[in-house]
């Protein structure tokens, strides 16, 4: 029984096509499980349809139609491409990855196995290529009975349970449940005793600093450090300061010369002044919302 759904605001952004691509992956996955939201989405599409049929008309030249028809005629001669082979070898041997929603299946690497990384003793993660770099899209797999170290996030995190279940202080989550964690919310998920729990996770990535020093400071995104917690709870993250971020990246790359850069290593700094925190994210004091990517200066 699904108890946790995307809110109406997220659903309307999904249906209107204004929600971030990676978050849409999460919403679509939820829709696969949830009748209720599917019918809400159908209604939201109908709203789009009725706005379309009511909107003011703009004249379209006859040549547009003529051009379209010749395009259509040209395409009729093209033979339809051979249907893509569906099975990914990587999923066949792992029971956990059988019968995933189609949209998630599409994210699995073709012809090669997923690369699972251990993050602590009970959590494994495998990053997925989702066609964008704004969010980190990944599978999180908690082993049965496993507890994940208490952690919080530099940015928004959306989790959709795919298999098994887990619980935290707030409740139990089962397949299809859609959870949104705001930056700074601390939680400690624990998987059910009887089976592993597989989750689809979309995480607003803090600035990724690359290179040797980055790995030294924060080898795993989930490691609980005093620094990350202080940064995440600090209400005065500044708006993006590209110059300083760039400078830090260059500095770190210079220090770690010769060591191959490694994508996806996250790091959090806590410099003297809040102004210099190299985060995209910004918690606004007034709205309490993350101002990420809005490009606007923070109120606070």
């Amino acid at each position: 029984m699904i108890k946790h759904h995307p809110d109406h605001n997220m659903l309307v952004e999904y249906c209107a096509g204004t929600l971030d691509w990676a978050l849409c992956l999460g919403v679509s996955t939820h829709l696969h499980f949830c009748n209720e939201c599917r019918s809400a989405a159908a209604n939201l599409n109908s709203l789009g349809g009725s706005l379309l049929s009511q909107c003011g008309q703009e004249a379209v030249g006859q040549e547009v139609f003529a051009g379209l028809m010749s395009k259509i005629q040209a395409q009729e001669f093209v033979v339809a491409p051979v249907a893509e082979q569906a099975a990914h070898p990587s999923i066949t041997n792992d029971r956990m990855l059988a019968q995933l929603p189609k949209v998630v299946r599409k994210l699995l690497p073709k012809g090669k196995a997923l690369r699972w990384q251990s993050v602590g003793s009970s959590l494994k993660m495998a990053r997925l290529a989702a066609g964008q770099d704004k969010y980190e899209v990944a599978f999180h797999r908690i082993c049965s009975g496993g507890k994940v170290a208490e952690h919080d996030h530099g940015g928004l995190e959306v989790t959709v349970v795919l298999k098994g279940s887990f619980s935290d202080g707030d409740g139990i989550y089962t397949p299809g449940d859609f959870l949104v964690r705001q930056p700074g919310e601390v939680h400690r998920p624990t998987a059910a005793q009887n089976e592993d729990c597989l989750c689809f996770s979309i995480c607003e990535a803090p600035v990724r600093l690359t290179g040797f020093l980055g790995r030294l400071i924060n080898p795993f995104s989930f490691r609980k450090t005093r620094l990350t917690r202080r940064v995440a709870r600090n209400p005065c993250f500044s708006a993006p300061k590209f110059a300083s971020v760039r400078f830090l990246t260059i500095l770190i790359q210079a220090i770690g010369t010769g060591i191959p850069t490694h994508k996806g290593i996250r790091v959090a700094f806590l410099p003297q002044s809040c102004e210099d925190i190299p985060f995209y994210g910004c918690l606004c004091k007034q709205s309490g919302q993350c101002q990420r990517s809005s490009g606007r200066r923070c109120h606070g």
Partner: protein, 205 residues
């Protein structure tokens, strides 16, 4: 006067004061019989609406040419995807809206600074038509659309505006907040309240 206007549609079996479900029937014909004449009529009706919809964003200053290109792209998709259209599941305008939305997402994505060409996942995988074909979604869609249209008209101006900005201008809540200077929470609650009133017209959520 009216008479001369009516003469334009002489020979058509559908009167000019066409109802929405007639468009749906026409779209079915396009899908099943690949009827180009029906398609020409769909084009004449929907192309100016699609263009109007896309040009309703005053800040995007989409040049007329680009709007025409988008119209062409949307109607091309309408033609190719029409065989999968099912009038019992969605009114023609709703279905065309979703085709248009997907084209717009594609277009915006191509220009996004966050685009990484590493994934197979495409717009149609996320906004998957099959999802709409599953049980419980089979409401009476065209009736729904009428109800929605009516209750939308009764919304307070600010809620109407917020929903228009989301749908027609293609803006996220935070973009609206940024442009209007309203707190994000206010934008969200206007959208939510508007939707609540609309949804109240056909039952819960």
């Amino acid at each position: 006067m009216t008479q001369t206007l009516m003469n334009h549609s002489k020979g058509d079996d559908i009167p000019s004061g066409i109802r929405d479900d007639n468009w749906s029937r026409l779209l079915m014909q396009v899908g099943q019989q690949r009827n180009q004449e029906s398609f020409a009529r769909l084009f004449a009706h929907f192309a100016p609406l699609i263009k109007g919809f896309c040009l309703s964003n005053p800040s995007s200053s989409l040049p007329g040419e680009a709007a025409d290109e988008l119209v062409q792209e949307v109607m091309f998709k309408v033609w190719t995807k029409a065989p999968s259209y099912d009038a019992s599941k969605a009114a023609a305008s709703t279905w065309i809206f979703t085709v248009m939305r997907n084209c717009r997402i594609d277009m915006m994505r191509r220009n996004s600074r966050h685009l990484v060409n590493s994934a197979d996942v495409e717009v149609d995988d996320i906004w998957d038509e099959e999802l709409d074909h599953q049980p419980f979604v089979r409401l009476q869609q065209s009736r729904n659309e009428e109800l929605i249209q009516k209750s939308f008209a009764t919304l307070p101006a600010e809620q109407k505006l917020a929903l228009t900005q989301v749908y027609m201008q293609g803006k996220s809540h935070s973009e609206i907040a940024e442009e209007t200077g309203l707190p994000l929470g206010t934008v969200k609650s206007r959208v939510r309240m508007g939707l609540k009133k609309i949804q109240a017209s056909f039952g819960k959520r």
